[in-house]
């Protein structure tokens, strides 16, 4: 069973490819390597023992995308990760984000329709909830005005998906709303590889700890939380990857109850930035150099998931705790040879 993974050389994509291979699926990766490297493909092969097919294609390129699908007509499902994801950059260059994230989805859905590929898993994000009114947030929570063009592209993409599904007979999809994926594969061969200055907390922490960065800025310590720092629901990337397998099987086995199902993927536990720093110190033995800085625009105060629907319907539950997540991220950082 051939599954297309777009953005398969990326952080979540690469871990999902490994899990797909472990489950016996044949994987083909499409990635334009804009934020990843072809080395990842080799690392995936080292872990699974199977080299996934790989094509370097920009999915915004209509012709190339069409040629790709004509060539690989035996694809039965698509897991779509490929997207730009830096919140800050999206504020500075919104058109880059609208163009890339929306056009690539449109091209994929068009080709899926042409080839009658009916199973689609979409990477969405908890950013669609903004600052939720009640916590933990469940899938019924209303979608908020997004705080960044990046967040808006995820919302628009979900809308494009709903409209497309409603217009077609056979297409079915699961949209997975990730909370904050961190950590790395236990082999330390793949993990998060941010280009330039990390936008996300964990790579910033590990890079600071290893000496690539002088010190960590903690943006805001005056939030309405126990220690004043922001609260997020961190989830191990391998747990997250496993949820994609569960979603894919649910689609393939025609168990879905609606043509588009939406699931939160988180642990259900919120940790503050200070919790993370303390946990990191515990597992790594490194005392981080950090200081408090003013709040960063676009950050919500606190968010964590009600992931009970995923547990019930996908029979999936995050297994790894914060210490395990941070230890794997730290091992990965120490193993990066770049």
């Amino acid at each position: 069973m051939k599954v297309l993974v777009t953005g398969g050389a990326g952080f979540i994509g690469s871990h999902t490819v490994v899990e797909l291979q472990n489950n016996g699926f044949d994987v083909i990766i499409v990635d334009n390597l804009s934020n990843s490297s072809e080395d990842v493909i080799d690392k995936i092969s080292q872990i699974s023992g199977i080299k996934p097919l790989f094509e370097k294609i920009d999915l915004c390129d209509e012709e190339k995308t069409k040629e790709f699908f004509n060539k690989h007509f035996d694809i039965k499902a698509v897991i779509h990760f490929a997207a730009f994801k830096a919140v800050g950059e999206s504020v500075e260059n919104p058109l880059k984000y609208y163009k890339n994230n929306i056009l690539s989805l449109v091209n994929i859905l068009q080709n899926m329709n042409n080839h009658q590929i009916n199973n689609f898993v979409f990477s969405s994000s908890c950013t669609v909830y903004g600052q939720p009114d009640k916590l933990p947030v469940n899938e019924k929570e209303s979608i908020k005005t997004p705080l960044s063009p990046y967040g808006n592209t995820k919302q628009i993409c979900e809308e494009v998906l709903i409209d497309t599904i409603n217009s077609q007979n056979n297409l079915k999809a699961i949209s997975l709303r990730y909370f904050n994926p961190i950590g790395a594969h236990k082999s330390s061969l793949i993990g998060e590889l941010p280009l330039g200055i990390p936008n996300n907390l964990i790579p910033y922490i590990t890079q600071t700890a290893i000496g690539k960065r002088k010190s960590l800025n903690v943006f805001g310590n005056d939030y309405n939380t126990s220690d004043g720092t922001c609260i997020r629901d961190y989830i191990h990337v391998v747990d997250l990857a496993e949820a994609h397998i569960a979603a894919l099987k649910r689609l393939l086995e025609d168990k879905i109850e609606e043509k588009l199902e939406v699931y939160n993927l988180g642990t259900g536990i919120g940790y503050s930035v200070m919790d993370v720093i303390n946990s990191f110190k515990k597992v790594s033995g490194v005392d981080l150099n950090y200081q408090f800085a003013p709040r960063r625009s676009g950050d919500v105060e606190k968010v964590w998931a009600d992931a009970s629907l995923a547990e019930k319907k996908l029979n999936w539950k995050a297994k790894k705790n914060l210490d395990e997540m941070l230890l794997s991220a730290w091992k990965w950082e120490k193993n990066i040879k770049i």
């Binding site: 069973m1 039965k76 009916n118």
Partner: protein, 360 residues
């Protein structure tokens, strides 16, 4: 130990593909009746040669389920495995008529090659490393070995040399099944059988075609001079051999199945004419007059003859019937099942028949 005793109390879930076809229906009947603890799932697309009327006697059995579907449909086969969790696949579903393969090779590529790979992939996907008690059994033909001169036999070591689009597609699927064994460790067996005859065979094949035409006093089309030689096996004996090989064949092995029963086509047709004249109370020689020689089939293999000593020695199988007994039973069956014959010869088959023979 007597064949089958050991297996009577075992539980298995067996997918038989093409189980509504000629050979498949005899195999399904044997397994459903002989192994009440097995769950037999018969998957057949019911194209022209698959016919559920072949299985009315077992259709209500508790251990039997029929499913209509296409082996080339990946998502469908995937879901069938999800639902039934098969531990065994006996794969007979195939486009099997050489003449049709000459007119339309692509159908043979799709069903016989792509369909087989789809079943292999899905078995591999669901069985993963739990391969004990798993078995993928591919039923194939002696035609993969090519054509013989006047002497010699095909053994399991004979190099493949298929000559028709049909036999090329079966050779290809045999190779793929073996490749999945060597590459992925999939537990497989393959058997290559000579020509089959018996009840329920679709009347495009030589023996039922002749019976049907003699019955209706229609011309008996014989290719070329009728000198091609085929080795004939009664279908129930083929099903018995499959039973043996399925349960006792060695993992990764190939077994030839045949009855040491070679006939020149023209001799066979003449013998049939004689039997039919007797049974229909016609004057001896009446039916032979219907013989019409038609332009030979393109690339018509001269002779097939199979050496099945490996099966006979290692697994202690032998044909239960002599050819004249099998012949007699077969003719009687067609004479007693005229409704079946009428049903399958209407519609699509008629059109096909005209294209194949009347224009020659």
């Amino acid at each position: 130990m007597e064949m089958g005793k050991k297996h009577k109390n075992m539980k298995k879930t067996v997918l038989i593909t093409g189980g509504a076809g000629f050979i498949g229906s005899h195999l399904v009947r044997l397994f459903v009746n002989k192994y009440p603890k097995y769950k037999i799932i018969n998957l057949d697309s019911l194209t022209y040669a698959g016919n559920l009327a072949n299985l009315t006697d077992v259709e209500k059995s508790k251990n039997y389920t029929f499913i209509k579907g296409d082996i080339t449909n990946e998502e469908f086969i995937y879901n069938l495995f999800v639902k039934y969790n098969f531990d065994s696949v006996i794969h007979l579903a195939a486009e099997s008529h050489v003449d049709r393969s000459i007119t339309n090779p692509m159908d043979f590529i799709k069903t016989n090659i792509v369909g087989t790979v789809n079943l292999l992939n899905t078995s591999k996907f669901f069985w993963k490393d739990k391969l004990e008690d798993k078995r993928f059994y591919h039923i194939s033909t002696d035609e993969v070995y090519g054509s013989l001169g006047k002497k010699g036999f095909f053994t399991e070591r004979t190099a493949y040399d298929p000559r028709s689009p049909y036999s090329a597609s079966k050779a290809s699927s045999d190779h793929l099944v073996r490749a999945y064994h060597h590459t992925f460790g999939l537990p497989i067996v393959i058997s290559n059988c000579s020509n089959n005859y018996g009840p329920n065979q679709f009347p495009e094949k030589l023996i039922p075609l002749m019976i049907n035409n003699i019955l209706n006093s229609k011309p008996l089309p014989v290719y070329g001079k009728g000198e091609n030689v085929r080795d004939w096996l009664y279908v129930v004996d083929h099903a018995r051999a499959i039973d043996k090989i399925f349960h006792k064949g060695k993992n990764g092995n190939t077994y030839n199945i045949g009855g040491n029963n070679e006939w020149k086509n023209i001799d066979l047709v003449k013998t049939l004419c004689g039997i039919m004249d007797k049974k229909l109370n016609r004057k001896p020689g009446t039916s032979e007059k219907l013989i019409t020689y038609v332009t030979d089939r393109a690339g018509h293999d001269l002779r097939y003859a199979i050496d099945s000593s490996k099966l006979q020695n290692e697994l202690k199988w032998e044909p239960s019937l002599k050819f004249d007994e099998g012949f007699d039973l077969t003719v009687d069956w067609y004479l007693n099942n005229k409704v079946w014959l009428e049903n399958v010869t209407s519609g699509e088959y008629q059109k096909y028949y005209a294209k194949q023979y009347i224009k020659r």
